[in-house]
Symmetry: C2
Subunit: 189 residues, 2 copies
DNA sequence: ATATTGTGAGTGAATATTCACAATATTATT
DNA sequence: AATAATATTGTGAATATTCACTCACAATAT
């Protein structure tokens, strides 16, 4: 049981948003699932969109903190990238709903506002490491290495979808190991 | 102007689905945009979901045919991969709405039914080429090379999103060239 | 004594789908 | 060719349901 009603609302909403979709989830069903009244949701959140945005910020922040924490004890860019890739996989399995919600919300402008793009996001953890690896001559990257974030994040994200939908028959750990090696091949050339 | 009303409905729906989202697009607005009546949409499609599925099949088929066509005249797996990567970029720019719709629909179970996953899809074009490249010893891939499709498709997809949202400051053609080279580094080791 | 949190019926607007009907195109019959 | 018969395509008002959000009020905490 959640500590507060507000927390219960956030948890129920995340669950329903992921399982049924954001639009198909009604305020009424969130209230019911959280054991509270509809009006109380509006006590805590300005609107349904505000609720959806708050949940996204929570999930993205949690994800970013997990990545930052994982990479902290190491300063070798190559090892850091390996850790990051493995951490994304881990996070997607351990926090399945949170990860799914990030994927879903990513395609919705009402949720990902311009203001939100200026806040610290998961991808920023990568940029720093790639930059430093490039300067040390470990990674062979374009002048502006941000695009390499797209490469790695895209690879991992799609691989997770392939695992979830059982499009690949490879065992999960095998996929992770191979994806780590492939991403390093890509960066090191 | 569309050749038939049915075609006009399909075109208008695609346009609105991409710009406003599928749920936020009403049957009424589709009818209005297509210059027809609401009831006529139900003459041609069982439901709004059926319409959304039909559009997805059209877009995915067009995408797959474009990839197949592009790769036909070449039999060198390495060059074929380069062609495929470039063709995805080209397609995403030339058929912006169709490509966006494929991305959006991909996260919706009501649209991507299990039955649909058994039909020929864009990714299948890759599988064949990767398999053949692996057998010829050009690509160093896992026993089951399907996962490499996830890698390439994910890389390209995310790169396109980075270009669209102007997250990278690299010029478009530079991104394409670098992504081609990165994907070949990844496959060839 | 006041601020915060919780309640749920009520409101107005919007929605997908249906249906009885009309127009038009296609085919069959003189 | 002309007409009749039928099938297809098009119409938009009506229906019943659902939705996000408000508000006057109640409970609880500070």
């Amino acid at each position: 049981m959640a500590a507060t009603k507000k927390q219960a609302i956030l948890e129920t909403a995340l669950e329903l948003f992921v399982s049924d979709g954001i639009d198909a989830t009604s305020i009424r069903s969130i209230a019911e699932g959280a054991g509270t009244a509809e009006g109380n949701i509006y006590r805590h959140f300005k609107s349904k969109n505000d609720l959806a945005r708050t949940i996204f910020l929570n999930c993205a922040t949690q994800f970013r903190n997990t990545l930052k924490e994982a990479v902290k004890k190491n300063s070798n860019p190559e090892q850091q990238i390996e850790i990051l890739v493995r951490t994304i996989f881990d996070f997607s399995f351990e926090y399945e709903k949170e990860f799914s919600y990030i994927l879903i919300a990513n395609h919705r402008e009402e949720i990902i506002t311009n203001e939100m793009l200026s806040k610290p996001l998961p991808k920023d953890v990568f940029v720093e490491i790639l930059q430093s690896g490039k300067e040390k001559g470990i990674f062979k990257l374009p002048h502006e290495p941000t695009i390499a974030v797209a490469w790695i994040v895209g690879m991992v994200q799609r691989s997770i979808i392939f695992i979830r939908r059982q499009i690949t028959s490879l065992e999960r750990n095998k996929v992770i190991d191979e994806t780590v090696r492939a991403s390093l091949r890509m960066l090191k050339g």
